[in-house]
Structures are given as C-alpha cells and as structure tokens.
Subunit: 302 residues, 2 copies
Amino acid sequence: MEIMPNGFPSYSSDFTETMEFYRIETEKKLELLCGSFCEENDRYKSLYDAAEYSLKAGGKRIRPVLTLELCRAYDGKLSDALTAAAAIEMIHTFSLIHDDLPCMDDDDMRRGRPSCHKAFSEAGALLAGDMLIAMAGKVICESSLDAIKKSEMLSCLYDCTIGMIEGQTVDISGNFTDIGGLLQMYSLKTSELLKASCVMGCIAAGADKEDILKAKEYAYNLGLAFQIVDDILDVTSTEEQLGKPVGSDEEQNKITSVTLLGIDGARALAAEFTEKAENILCEMKNSSFLLQLTDLLLKRKK
Amino acid sequence: MEIMPNGFPSYSSDFTETMEFYRIETEKKLELLCGSFCEENDRYKSLYDAAEYSLKAGGKRIRPVLTLELCRAYDGKLSDALTAAAAIEMIHTFSLIHDDLPCMDDDDMRRGRPSCHKAFSEAGALLAGDMLIAMAGKVICESSLDAIKKSEMLSCLYDCTIGMIEGQTVDISGNFTDIGGLLQMYSLKTSELLKASCVMGCIAAGADKEDILKAKEYAYNLGLAFQIVDDILDVTSTEEQLGKPVGSDEEQNKITSVTLLGIDGARALAAEFTEKAENILCEMKNSSFLLQLTDLLLKRKK
C-alpha cells in the first residue's frame, strides 16, 4: 500500500487494506494515549484498566474511520486527525459502558465478553465512563492542533455527546409512539456521533463550511439507515449470522421501524436514507472510499 | 456596593456583600445557560430537569467565588470569568450526582433534599451527570473568549475532572492506609477542583504563569485543610450545628485524618495547611477577600 506524504494511503489503495490501516492507526493512537494515562500511580489503576478493557473491545472502529477518511478527502494530514479519531472512540466507548449499566439497558455482555460493569464493578464502570468523557476533551486540548481547531473540535464533540445523552433519555423513557419520534431518537443516539466523526475530520483538514454541511448531511442519513437496517436484521437474520438472538426487539416489546412500518415499509425507508447518503457522496470529492463504506454498512447481513 | 468598570465590586466592598454578589451572578449565569439548554423539545426535558434540580440545590458556590475572585484579583473582566464559574459548578454538580448513586456512596439525601436519583431515577441521575460533564465543555466552547483561553480553560477543566474521578476511585476502593494516601485522595477529590476554579479565573484575566502557580498552591492547601476540618467537625460538632448526624465517619469505619492522627494531630495538620494557604495569599496582590474567605472556610463550626 502506498502512503502519501500526508500520512494517508493513496487513493489507489484497496478498500479493505485502507479500512485495516485506519483501524490499526486508531488503535495505536489509543494505546499511546492509554499508556500515558496512568503513569506510576497504582491507587487508581483500576479506573484506567476498566476504560482500557472497553476501549480495546475492538469492532470496526467505524467512527474513527469516518474521521480519518474525511480528513483524507479534504487533503488534511493523518497526524492532525488521529487525536480526534481517538477522542471520538472514547466518547463512543463511554456511551457503551454507561448504556450497559444495570439502571440503563442492563446488558451483561458486549461483543461476546462481559460488559465493563461485569468485568469490574458498577462503580468502576460508572467512573470509567465519566473519565472517558473528560479524557476525550483532554487529549484534544493537549494535541498539537492550533487553538481554533481545538475549540471547534471540542464544541462539535461535546455537542454530539449531549445529543447522544438526549437520545438515550428518549430511548429509556419511551417518549415516542410514531415514526417521527423514533427517527428523532435514532438521529440523536446514532447520527450525532457519526456527524461529529465526519465534522472533526473536516476540521482537522481545514475543510470549508459548505463541505462540513455536506458531511453532516451524509452522516445524518447514514445513521438513520444504519439503525433501520439493524431493526430489519433483528427480524430477518439468523442467530448464526447476527451472533446474538434474533427477534429480541419483539420479545422486549421495543418500538422499532419494523413494528411501526412492517418489514417492507422499513426496507423502503432504509433504501430512502441510503440513497440520500449516496447522493450526497456523489457530490463530494474523493468519495469512492466512503461509497464503499456506506455499502458495507448498509447492505450488511449482520 | 460600588461596581467597577470591569463589572466587579470595588475592593472597598463588604466581604459578605461581595460573596452574595458572586453567588447571585453565578446563579444568573447558570439560569441563563440552563434556559437555553432545552429549547422546545419535551421528549428529553427530564434530562434537563434533573440537571437543573441539582444545579439549583444551592450552597455557597465556593468554587465559582474562587474563579470570579481570582479574575478580579488579576484585573480581568467579570464577563470573561462567569462562563468558567458556571462550568466549574456544572462539574461540581456532576460529581455530587454520581457520588450519591447507589453503586457509589448510596446517599438518599443531599443538602436536606432527596438526592437526584431519588427525586428522578437512577438512569436519569446517571444521564444528568454525564450531560453536565459535556455541558461544562460546551458552554466554554460557545463563550466569547478567544480560542487560546478556551483551550487553556478546557485543558484545566478536564484535567481536574479526571483528577476528581481518580480520587473517587481511590476513595471507594479504600486503597490507602496511611496519612500520605489519605492526603493524596483528598487532594484529588477536593483540591483539584478548587485549583481549576482558581486557575480558570486567572486564565480569564490573562494572569501570568507565576501567578497561576501561586493560585494552584493556595488551592491545594485550602482543599486539604478544608477536608481535615471536615473530619474534625464530624467528631467535635453537634448534630444541630452540622445539620447531619455527627460521628458518621466512625460509624462507617472510615479512615480519616482523625482516625489516623487523633483529634490533636488532625488539628495540628489543619493548622499547618491553613497557614500555608494564608502565607501564599500574603504574597499575592489584592488578597484581602481571599484571606477572609479562607478564614470563613477553615474556621467554620459546621
């Protein structure tokens, strides 16, 4: 794979190899930041162990991939976007840790391993999540970016964090009965962080306002399509494909796009948001990677 | 009370009136920021209600007072320090909400009212605390300060937030047996936020590095003395004076400066930190208000 002077793979690179490059670079950055967390003090080592346990749980690192790719698309430098990518993953991880807690979704397992509060303790998981919200801000403040970019990124990061928390509030209170309410909740819970991922990549590269608006619109539609595809897979997939029990939404009496619109209605809506996301990409420069990523996320079988 | 062109009370103003001025200005700023939180959406109104419930629980607003007073001492403008003062109070409030949760200290009451999770729900209190960490950053990002001051303040704010979380980790794990460990825990749990309060006031005013160092040292000693005085009052005060049961530390088998050093040893240590704090103030300009505040906090009977 050819690496350009700005640190990114060249556009002729293979999609899968580029995905892998982004994942590895993000994990290296997280490792570096985690390593500098704790220093010598073992009185509160458990705090960082709990955060690291969840940060290292893996996954495709979709959000950092978006940050890095948007920075590449707008001709930025890899090193300017990596801290933002790590910060985004910290916020994502905080939300998973706190969402799994007994007073929230009460999930004992996450990605095939015990969730953070099961592996450590409830108090430990609560504090690790809290710490990650603050750490995401701290690593951006301490990066080598200029003060204006830092402040723009932090504004974007904490705006989306608040949006996610609003979304979780709607979700647990069940304060919606129609498709409009459901989509608003999905937008807050999922699209907000995807938006911040894209926008922070744009800021790292110094993209202009119009490009940032397009990136936001892409992320909004991507997030909604992603959630609706999730609803559909819960009904149509097999347990083997999904790696978790199918039909769990129905069992829990959850309101989803499938319960509200039926399977065909949900499919039509997913197709609509997918098309919108793809149309925006077609107006953006250097978007072939993002088109493939969108395809991967929205046409998945699990 | 005479108000100077920079928005602060003149130095000839009465101590108690100035304290009251700072409290009212902080609460007005919080009210303004809270009012703009929620806008029209009542699907997640409960999130902001829970945060507001705890933000409005009152108290002397010591931390905002420090921020505002340090800004006055270094000739800054009131308007430049008010957002920082509000952000500090948000972080303080987050820590109270999460510390009270059942998996942490499990306190049903806070300042004579049901704690946040009792008045709302555990999930509601968890989310309100999370939101306040993010909101503290957001309000600074959205203030009219220049980007460098914003970034310096945010670095300071999230550093201290992490320190507090480390302190709470040490506290609940009981990972200390000697006075050194106890003081480190007190420093993290209490001094860190007092330090940030002072430093953010200095940053607002554009104070130089040397002055910031002095402010930090003052806050460090103030925090330790404050905690040791707390330990002493738990033993020597009456229930009537304290407004809560005395002797609760002993009942809970808590390690405190009194259990480790005896009452006279704790008094001697409190006097030592108090003297250090006062000596630093004597080297600082315009410190008469801070000397009175230190006296109020460290010679209190409740």
